[in-house]
């Protein structure tokens, strides 16, 4: 048996849900970032999978979008982690539950 | 005749694989890979053993003493004795260490070092792991070293280890940029990330005499120097061995390791050195090509290893000659000199390319590099920068 597109999509969905789990259930800000990165990677996996299983030949659009999305994710990680450090410096905590200054 | 000697290892592998005819393809593939891995490990572990004793002997020569000369003829069996000693030593893990991380770090660091060896062409048709983006593979896998070093530093739960790891990561990240950017001109000129293609591009000889290695172009020479210095840093060799400076922080991230794990770190460091030298040879020194057309009858892998030994000797020579630099000097050097120079190499390579790759391009790119070099050395005012440090924080 060779893996079908479905299998890859399910793997991707699993990764996405795991990322979502990390984002929603962990209290540490870094985990939220980790979760977001996993979710983005899952999306990239989708792009690549659709490119690979799509009708051939075709321009490598999926690969390109994955590349750009990786670059953007890297930028997001850098800024996000910098924000975690800045927040930590200011509030002496990284617990997102306590960062509720914007509460209405 | 010379052809068959050149391909002797390949033929041997084919002969071994011919025993497997009839088995499914994937199994043949696995066995082929295993043969490659085995050969690679055998060669480089031997080389490691050899270089560890040779380094001590060469250093001793430089310092007017004998060096190891008790075990075996000329002390050549010293590594075997060392190995046995390391293996039977007690393996100490600190009580409050993060045991899993502490255990995984040496494995990861060694695995990474060995993986990087895979993409280097050692001879004609002798690239263990042929991949289109070989250079990228080398750096992608090589960058994992930082994480491994961090794991070692964190897992040991020791302030010296942590400080050493921080220093190592700081300098590795700083020098990774010039390292990669100094590779770019070659990639640009060749138009490929595949090591084989890069070696093939350096095959010709100008006037049948001077080999067309990239190190003989101004940008190539400059990039090679940058590459070599960055390689020194990446492999934590003197004069950039701050992360494990014995006089300051015991042994850096390796402080809490003993016995076989320590030996693994040691080995990883040397293999890293082989890998970076091998990459340097591939990129700038013509790979396995002979320096003269007349010498092409000598097998290609012999040339590769001859070049490798020259580079390794230079490493050892530098270790015997230069004192350790300060971390702030290392950083300044990376960001203020190496990085701009590396970018200049790209421009110089472009100039060389668009001026026709001939003598004119040669002179133009030399001009570009000389201008930037002069400007940088004037701007940085090196004489002032390397004066005794005025300590502002430590009092």
């Amino acid at each position: 048996m060779t893996p079908t597109l479905q299998v890859f999509l399910i793997i991707s969905a699993t990764l996405f849900s795991i990322g979502l789990l990390a984002v929603l259930s962990r209290r540490h800000a870094i985990f939220i970032l980790i979760g977001i990165e996993i979710m983005l990677a899952a999306a990239n996996l989708n792009f690549i999978a659709f490119w690979r299983f799509g009708p051939q030949p075709q321009p490598p659009t999926g690969v390109m979008i994955a590349l750009f999305s990786i670059a953007i994710a890297a930028a997001e990680a850098a800024v996000g982690l910098a924000m975690v450090i800045a927040v930590y410096r200011h509030y002496h905590t990284t617990n997102v539950d306590q960062l509720d200054q914007l509460r209405g | 005749m010379s052809k068959s000697i050149d391909q002797v290892f390949l033929n041997a592998k084919q002969w071994l694989l011919s025993w497997l005819t009839g088995l499914p393809t994937w199994m043949v593939q696995v066995v082929s890979s295993l043969i490659n891995i085995f050969a690679l490990l055998a060669v480089f572990l031997t080389l490691f053993a050899l270089i560890s004793v040779l380094e001590r002997k060469i250093l001793a020569r430089m310092q007017n003493r004998y060096g190891p000369n008790r075990v075996g003829p000329f002390g050549l069996f010293q590594p075997i004795a060392d190995g046995i000693k390391m293996l039977i030593k007690e393996d100490i893990v600190p009580m409050r260490a993060d045991k899993i991380v502490h255990f995984l770090a040496p494995i990861l660091i060694a695995a990474v070092a060995i993986l990087t060896l895979g993409v280097i062409p050692y001879g004609r048709n002798m690239t263990p792991f042929t991949i289109d983006g070989g250079i990228l593979f080398f750096f992608a896998v090589g960058s994992t070293t930082e994480l491994a070093v961090f794991m070692a530093g964190w897992g040991s739960n020791n302030k010296y280890s942590m400080l050493g790891a921080m220093r190592a990561i700081a300098q590795m990240i700083s020098y990774e940029l010039p390292l990669i950017i100094s590779v770019l001109p070659v990639v640009m000129v060749v138009g490929s990330l595949a090591p084989d293609r890069i070696v093939a591009a350096q095959a010709e000889y100008t006037f049948g005499l001077v080999p067309r290695w990239f190190v003989f172009t101004p940008w190539g020479a400059a990039a090679f120097m940058l590459f070599f210095v960055s390689g020194l840093v990446e492999s934590n060799r003197t004069p950039f061995d701050v992360p494990e400076g014995e006089s300051e922080i015991v042994a850096g991230h390796m402080t809490e390791y003993s016995g076989f794990k320590y030996a693994t770190f040691f080995m990883a460091e040397y293999i890293g050195m082989f890998a970076i030298s091998g990459l340097g040879i591939t990129l700038f020194l013509g790979g396995w090509h002979a320096p003269l057309r007349a010498l092409e009858f000598v097998p290609s892998y012999a040339w590769f290893f001859a070049k490798l030994s020259v580079l390794l000797f230079v490493y050892i020579w530098i270790r015997g000659t230069l004192p350790r630099t300060r971390i702030d000097q290392i950083m300044n050097f990376a960001w203020k000199f190496m990085l701009p120079m590396a970018f200049t190499c790209i421009i110089a390579a472009a100039v060389w390319h668009y001026a026709g790759r001939g003598l004119r391009g040669w002179l133009w790119s030399l001009f570009v590099i000389a201008i930037v070099y002069a400007a940088l050395s004037m701007l940085l005012d090196t004489r002032r920068k390397f004066a005794p440090r005025v300590y502002r924080f430590a009092e």
Binding site: V23, L24, I32, V96, L99, Q101, R103, G104 | -
Partner: protein, 665 residues
Amino acid sequence: MNSWVLTCLWLIPAAPFAASLIILSLSKARRKSAVALAIIGEVLALALSILAFMPTLQATGFRAVQNFNWFTFGEHTLRLGFLLDPLAAAMLVMIALVGLCIFVFSVGYMADDKNFTRFFAYLSFFSGAMLGLVIANSLLLLFIFWELVGLASYLLIGFWIEKPSAAAAAKKAFITTRIGDMGFFLGMLWLYDCSGTLLFYDSGNGCLESAGLAMLGASATFIALLIFCGAVGKSGQFPLHVWLPDAMEGPTPVSALIHAATMVAAGVFLVARVYPLFSVDAINGVTPSLTVVVWIGVTTALMAALIAIAQEDIKRILAYSTVSQLGLMMVSLGVGGVAAGIMHLLAHGFFKALLFLGAGSVIHGCHGEQDIRKMGGLRRLMPVTFMTYAIGMLALSGVPFSFSGGWTKEEILHATAQWPKSQAPYYLLLAGVVLTALYMTRQMIYVFFGNGRSASERAHESPRVMTMPLIVLALCTIFFSVVLTSAWPWLHGYLTGEPVHIEITRLVQPMLFVSLALVSAGVVIGVWMYRKAGVQDRDRPAEIDPLEYAQPGVFEFLANKMWIDDLYDHTVIAFSWMAARLSDWMDRYFWDGLVRGFGGVGQLFGILTASVDERGINAGVDETTAGARGLGRLMSGAHSGQIQTYLGAVAIGMLALLLLYAWLA
């Protein structure tokens, strides 16, 4: 040959400009780099100027024009351009050469200054602006550079900004020249209105070419006079000459470069450049505007020469001398001797720069002393300075044979004598010649002869870097005269485009003897009057000037600059001060009261509406807001500030969408 220079004229001012910008970006400590950059920029400019000078030699009446569009607004296109003709080329070489000498001199003179690099940046900036001014082919471009030059002058006069007098002088120079520039600007606008172009030469369509001039008609006189206002301000002509002597507060190299050799000559250059405007409808070479030029020039020349006699500050004497010489040039232009005026301008550039640098050397040697009564006997202590200064003095006084000033002055006198309208300017200028010789002799005697006095006791010769430019300029002064002699008036021919041949007999002319006699008279009177200067003589104390002893009233009149400054103080400035006071009072009491009154009315109205608002409208609104607030409180419960809650809500929303989609599909 050299055609690329003609298309790249902009490079000439660009070199010093670039140097200036780079120097400004350097740190203060980089003195050597600053000097090197400034001098490289100037040498480049000089080399390019000489390259540009070459082609102008080949054809008589050479003129290279290069115009380009600056910008377009609506249907109009504003065009600027560069122009190279003999006038511009000669000016270029003179400016760049004198500038280079002065740059080198400044290296020594300013060696101890803490703002050394800034000084060179300003100097380079000035140099670039001046070179640009000379090659401009558009009145607008010329005006732009004109103002840049003014800015550089302002910055450099006030270079020692910590000295209040320097700051005041800078301000005075700036404002005074601005009054003239106002006229210049108006003239420019008028000219544009009439002719529709500001380009001088534009293959027949320029404002200085016959087609353009024909469009002007009667307004040409007024336009010319308005533009002349700018020249009056810049060249320190009466009545706007008051700033120039005060500008001597700046460093001496600045005085030499800007306020003697180049910038102040820009006014003369301007008049020469737009000369066709002045001579529209000329009858026998006389027009109303030119007549004004002549009389202003004569007044200035004579007045300044008189004032110079009674000054004590070595630089002020030279400043008044400059004013006087500029007046002379103006006269020459006014009477039709354009070439003579420009020749005098070029020669004057060399020898006046030489004199100023000599003065700088003297001041440097005397440790900053500028009062000539405190000097003396420097002849032995500063031999090089003395020799070069003497050459400059002879040139300025107008001694002919081998001193450039003499030949050009003679030409001017010649031109003036032939002015059809009146002979008065001629005789007044003759008096000016005597006076010039007199005050220069006075200065020489005070500074270099006699015995050492308080400031000159510890004097020393200046370093090589300062004396070398002096020697170079002195040599220029002497050799320059070769092309000026009446026997071979090469420069005259070069500027006018007339053919020239050598004729030794023309060397001796009546005018030569007249001028020689007058100069000797001036020198002899000076020697006789000041033979005992600075020494106790009968009942005259040493520090009192012989003239002051003999004629205290006259001396006081002259020493106080004919009370022109005081006159301005009591008239123009007092008036503007009064006006300011009046406006202040008006503003404070009248307008303010009015505004307050309106404000009071508004306030009353406000009180009225407020009460209505509070009682009537608010009550209704209050209820509404209370309701809204309650709703808000209800809603803000969902706004917990917890990111994860929000993200969870997003996820649930996505889920719902997915299910909806699945259900619909």
